[in-house]
């Protein structure tokens, strides 16, 4: 018998790649089983990484030592910092990616890691002894002994693709579905469900008339995702904005009687924030137009992604409707849009390490948990890979709290509340938005990532340097006095009330109307302002100064939260003993088996008085 693998990762999407890379980097022998080696790290939907809340997640993955940020930086064709006009908690990096290069870069990263082995095949059965993982079986009849398994099957489990009245098995366009695993897991006692998502058509860029659309360029001074020294973009590709119109809507409506959604052929729940175009024109019938973002798929390819036009209507209807969009008059389609239904497993069956409660050393990550989005999948893969490695190495698990990272919010939400529709991250899901910023992801997480052996020394050195430099700069803000003559003209020009005597730069910076850029005359900043490589030090110091009061306020709240999260609950606690809590609460507590009182308090249907009752029985 071969020496068993420490970690087998099934699936080579965003979750699988991060899982395999992290576990291998930390020292595990990893086998990545994928149905097609040519589609590793395939962006199945839009060619973009990041966005609001999602960009923060990519920064967190990077800070911990994951690869999504670096791969994105190396392969992006456009960068934008969204929400610049809002406070720093909302600044969200977003990149348009070169789809083919993204996949290539990821594959090469994995290949460069000698702990990663590959096998192209379909995993069909998780082998379990005494409720613990012992091996995995494939369609070709291979059997791999292993200590742990991370399942990242994406939309492939019994996937069915719908286009109009046609439907066929498939995990992604032109790729077959995965069979066997669902039935295997259900036999082991897992509950499965069905979800749905969709994607728009891809068209030929050469057939579009961009002069009729609005160009959407990237940022003038593009930033990037990784905290390491990846390069900034010097050249970017534009996206374009156009709109649907009533003529487009009318044509789409002719396809409704063949729509798999409206005819009930699709049972699974789809994401409300990612509605198909047919959904949009039905639910918001009063709207005369909807935005269409025209996104290039790479530096060189002519393929274009029609963002905003997700649909599963018959392909001829898609085509006809598309051509009525301004700029699309002679559009040629490469691939039609489609809807896909797939199996998922309620994440309430997981622990906070993403290990299943039923089977030891079995981990789930990504869409199999009912989530959607590359970033959501990648961070789960990262956490599952880390924890699979730690578990088989006999090291204590690695869990992030809700006040530490969006990743912590995401996993806690999933395992505590479960999800009915594909779960996507929003900043509003985080209680402590001001703490979980993209600019401080490294300050929050790199030390933790280094401790577990994932983030390298270079990352730690960078964080230490950043901390020191920011501290020094902020203390200089405290010391330097600014005279009214220097600052009043700026204050007045911005409509603020002028100062009458010298004031510390620190307190002036806290005024809403002033920012660091207004202090070009100050001796503290004189040289720094023009140094490109100091920009993140300046930004960090400014944020810490301007928003100090808010940051402290949220830290206070977070402390309160942690109190409940530090109260551990016994896994075998018998909730039926608590007569005074509602039947609903009892049922959910018994099913979810919260690990802490804090988690219990976040379960829907568990009230504060239920929590106080549980507390009574703890002491």
């Amino acid at each position: 018998m071969d020496k068993p693998f420490d970690v087998v990762v099934v699936g080579g999407g965003h979750a699988g790649c991060e899982a395999a890379y992290a576990a291998a980097k930390m020292g595990s022998r990893v086998l990545l089983i994928t149905m097609n080696m040519n589609t590793i790290a395939q962006m199945s939907c839009n060619p973009a990484m990041g966005g609001i809340a999602k960009g923060q997640i990519v920064r967190e993955i990077d800070a911990l030592g994951g690869m999504s940020g670096i791969v994105t930086d190396e392969t992006m064709i456009q960068f934008k910092m969204l929400n610049r006009s809002k406070g720093p908690a909302m600044w969200s990096p977003r990149a348009q990616s070169d789809r083919m290069r993204f996949a290539e870069s990821w594959r090469l990263k994995l290949e460069q890691n000698e702990n990663v082995s590959f096998w192209q095949d379909m995993a069909t059965r998780v082998d379990v002894k005494n409720d613990k993982v012992v091996g995995i079986e494939t369609q070709l009849g291979m059997y791999f002994h292993c200590k742990s398994i991370v399942l990242t099957n994406g939309t492939f489990l019994n996937g069915i693709i719908h286009i109009g009245e046609k439907n066929f098995g498939g995990g992604r366009t032109a790729e077959k579905a995965a069979k066997g695993i669902t039935e295997n897991l259900v036999a082991l006692g897992f509950d499965s469900g069905r979800m749905k998502t969709g994607t728009p058509p891809r068209v030929d860029g050469r057939s579009l008339n961009y002069s009729l659309m609005e160009a959407q360029p990237g940022d003038e001074n593009p930033s990037k995702f990784s905290f390491k020294d990846t390069k900034r973009l010097t050249e970017q590709r534009d996206c374009y904005l156009t709109y649907t119109n009533e003529e487009v809507h009318d044509i789409l409506k002719t396809g409704f009687e063949k729509s798999p959604m409206f005819q009930g052929r699709i049972q699974g729940l789809g994401p409300r924030y990612c509605p198909s175009i047919e959904d949009k024109i039905t639910r918001f019938a009063q709207r005369e137009r909807h935005q269409i973002f025209v996104e290039p798929e790479g530096w060189n390819t002519v393929e274009v992604y029609v963002n905003g036009f997700s649909t599963s209507l018959p392909e001829d209807v898609q085509m006809k409707a598309l051509r009525k969009i301004k700029g699309f008059e002679s559009a040629k389609m490469f691939r039609p849009g489609y809807a896909i239904e797939y199996d998922f497993f309620s994440p309430q069956q997981l622990k906070n390490t993403l290990e299943t409660k039923l089977i030891e050393n079995l981990y789930f990550a990504g869409q199999i948990n009912g989530t959607t989005g590359y970033e959501e999948a990648a961070c789960q893969g990262l956490m599952a890979g880390i924890n699979a490695h730690l578990k088989v190495s006999g090291i204590k698990p690695f869990v992030l709290q809700r006040n530490e990272a969006y990743i912590g919010v995401l996993i806690d939400d999933l395992i505590t509340k479960g999800t009915n529709e594909p779960y996507r991250m929003f900043t509003s899901r985080a209680e402590y938005r001001i703490l979980l910023r993209q600019d401080n992801a490294d300050l929050r997480l790199t030390r933790l990532g280094h401790e577990i052996g994932l983030a390298d020394d270079d990352r730690l050195d960078r964080v230490k340097r950043k901390e020191e430099e920011v501290k020094k700069l902020v203390s200089e803000f405290h010391q330097e006095s600014i005279s009214p003559e220097d600052i009043n003209p700026i204050i007045i020009s911005k409509g603020g009330s002028p100062i009458s005597q010298k004031q510390k730069m620190y307190s002036l910076l806290q005024r809403p109307e002033l920012g660091l850029a207004d202090f070009g005359f100050s001796k503290t900043l004189a040289d720094l302002l023009f140094l490109d490589d100091k920009s993140d030090i300046l930004e960090q110091s400014e944020i810490q100064t301007k928003y100090q009061g808010y940051i402290e306020k949220e830290e206070e709240f977070a402390k309160k939260l942690l109190k409940l999260d530090n109260i551990k609950l016994k896994e075998n606690f018998d909730y039926s003993l608590l007569k005074s809590i509602s039947a609903e609460a009892k049922e959910k507590l018994t099913k979810i088996k919260p690990q802490t009182l804090g988690q219990a308090s976040r379960i829907n249907g568990v009230t504060p008085s239920d929590i106080s009752n549980i507390m009574l029985f703890l002491e």
């Binding site: 609001i52 949009k280 909807h290 935005q291 900043t427 509003s428 928003y547 306020k553 929590i611």
Partner: protein
């Protein structure tokens, strides 16, 4: 999210919660059957005695002339309660089977004749059979423990049990019925609407939707704040119903303070003489005028033996005034106008003067006529002859400003709720300021969240899912 630091001992309400909690701990072990009269003590036509516990039906069956072991729940049975051969009373027995009773346990209610003797004999009989006398509030405690009442209902029942005036009773009743919750539900909807508009701007800033402009926000906010203020005001009124309006009687020694007090209380128990400082008996210090309770502050002080004017002292008087919301300033008829003016001035100088109402009362008008002072706040009485006392009562009532709140209206009666509402209101003040100062929306959202958190402690938390639901329902978002 809930903040579960234990409530500091202190407020009455918190003590009740605590007692409930502590009771639960002990009760968890005990499963016995308890008994207590369910109607007020004293002679009445009918009295009700209640038993609750696993063996309530068995135990009653033992002493009842009819077999009630196999009867249906919610049935009424006529028969005798007997101690062996000796019939104690002819009674009606109501049977409630678990969990369909107030306590969710087997419950028996015996309607017997109202004589205290009969009640006593029946209870004694059950005590001999191994039933235990219930602790005060234990039925409610069991109801709460068994999941029949939520915390705020249990608190309301505790209030009901301790309520002493009609209005207080009404208020407790309406809270049990959940009227309060409906009002808060409306408020919750308002705030979800507001917060989801804010979140829309943050999480969906890239979407092609129309964001509310600042003046819309301010309008919505004003509406929400008005709704909260109404509830806050109702607490102040509610507090009046429950705790009574604190009234201070002040004035120089021997001006007739205890005589007035006695006249108001309409009793002669205090020893009253014309020598200052001879008051020493303790008497009740509450009166109920037209359903509203007034509580006299520091009546012991009024009756304290003091022969030196200095010992009463200005400071002590102010101390007393601080605790009151109405001050009865008793004056001798010989008091000159100047003095009256200076007292009035010293009151209006106080920053909080508008919270306190002042009534000048010239006493001893039977002995001499005062100079002609006029004003809405001036009354003339003779405490000794009990003339003008009704006018004092009328004046007291008219000074209790309950706004639009009437007895029986839905009102906040719980100090925990009041505190939460007040803190929510403060957070919304900060939100308003933030919007006016054009603060970034994510910072404004911090205070909206703390307002939602506070309100959440009353009717359940507003979760992100609630906000997202509202957004997805009302806006076309998503690519």
């Amino acid at each position: 999210m809930l903040n579960f630091s234990r409530p500091a001992a202190g407020s009455k309400r918190q003590n009740i919660i605590f007692a409930l909690m502590e009771g639960l701990r002990q009760f968890a072990a005990s499963n016995d059957t308890i008994i207590a009269p369910a109607t007020a003590p004293g002679v009445s036509a009918i009295a009700v005695i209640r038993l609750s516990g696993k063996d309530a039906i068995n135990k009653c069956n033992d002493v009842f002339t009819k077999n009630i072991l196999d009867v249906k729940s919610h049935t009424l049975h006529f028969g005798n309660i007997a101690d062996g051969e000796r019939i104690i009373d002819e009674v009606l027995v109501s049977v409630f089977k678990a969990p369909h009773s107030y306590t969710a346990e087997n419950t028996i209610e015996i309607s017997c004749h109202g004589s205290p003797y009969i009640q006593q004999e029946i209870i004694k009989l059950f005590l001999q059979k191994g039933v235990r006398m219930a602790e005060p509030g234990e039925f409610t405690l069991r109801a709460f423990y068994n999941g029949k009442l939520d915390l705020s209902q249990a608190e309301a029942v505790a209030d009901l049990i301790h309520s002493t005036s009609e209005s207080e009773h009404q208020m407790a009743i309406s809270q049990i019925r959940g009227g309060f919750s409906n009002e808060i539900k409306k408020l919750r909807e308002e705030i979800i609407r507001f917060a989801s508009l804010i979140e829309l701007e943050l999480d969906f800033s890239e979407e092609d939707v129309e964001f509310a402009d600042r003046s819309d926000f301010i309008n919505l906010l004003n509406k929400t704040q008005a709704a909260i203020q109404k509830l806050i005001d109702s607490f102040i009124a509610g507090n009046v119903f429950k705790n009574g309006v604190p009234v201070a009687i002040v004035g120089k020694p021997n001006v007739g303070k205890s005589t007035l007090l006695n006249a108001l209380l309409n009793e002669e128990r205090a020893i009253v003489s014309s020598i200052a400082g001879t008051t020493r008996d303790t008497i009740e210090d509450e009166i109920n005028i037209k359903g509203i309770k007034f509580r006299f502050v520091d009546t012991a002080g009024i009756r304290e033996t003091t022969d030196e004017i200095e010992s009463i002292g200005i400071e002590k008087t102010f101390e007393k005034i601080k605790q009151a919301s109405i001050v009865l300033y008793l004056l001798d008829p010989s008091t000159p106008q100047q003095e009256l003016d200076s007292i009035r001035k010293s009151f209006t100088d106080k920053s909080d003067s508008n919270k306190r109402r002042l009534i000048f009362i010239f006493n001893k008008t039977d002995l001499s006529i005062p100079f002609i002072a006029k004003g809405n706040d001036i009354l003339f009485i003779s405490a000794k002859e009990k003339t003008g006392i009704e006018k004092v009562k009328d004046q007291l009532i008219s000074l209790v400003n309950l706004g639009q709140v009437k007895v029986g209206d839905i009102i906040v009666s719980n100090s925990r709720h009041y505190d939460a509402l007040t803190r929510a209101q403060q957070s919304l003040d900060t939100v308003l300021k933030g919007i006016q100062n054009k603060l970034p929306t994510d910072l404004v959202a911090i205070d909206i969240r703390s307002a939602m958190f506070e309100l959440g402690s009353i009717t359940g938390q507003v979760s992100t899912d609630d906000l997202l639901d509202s957004i997805f329902r009302n806006f076309c978002v998503g690519k």
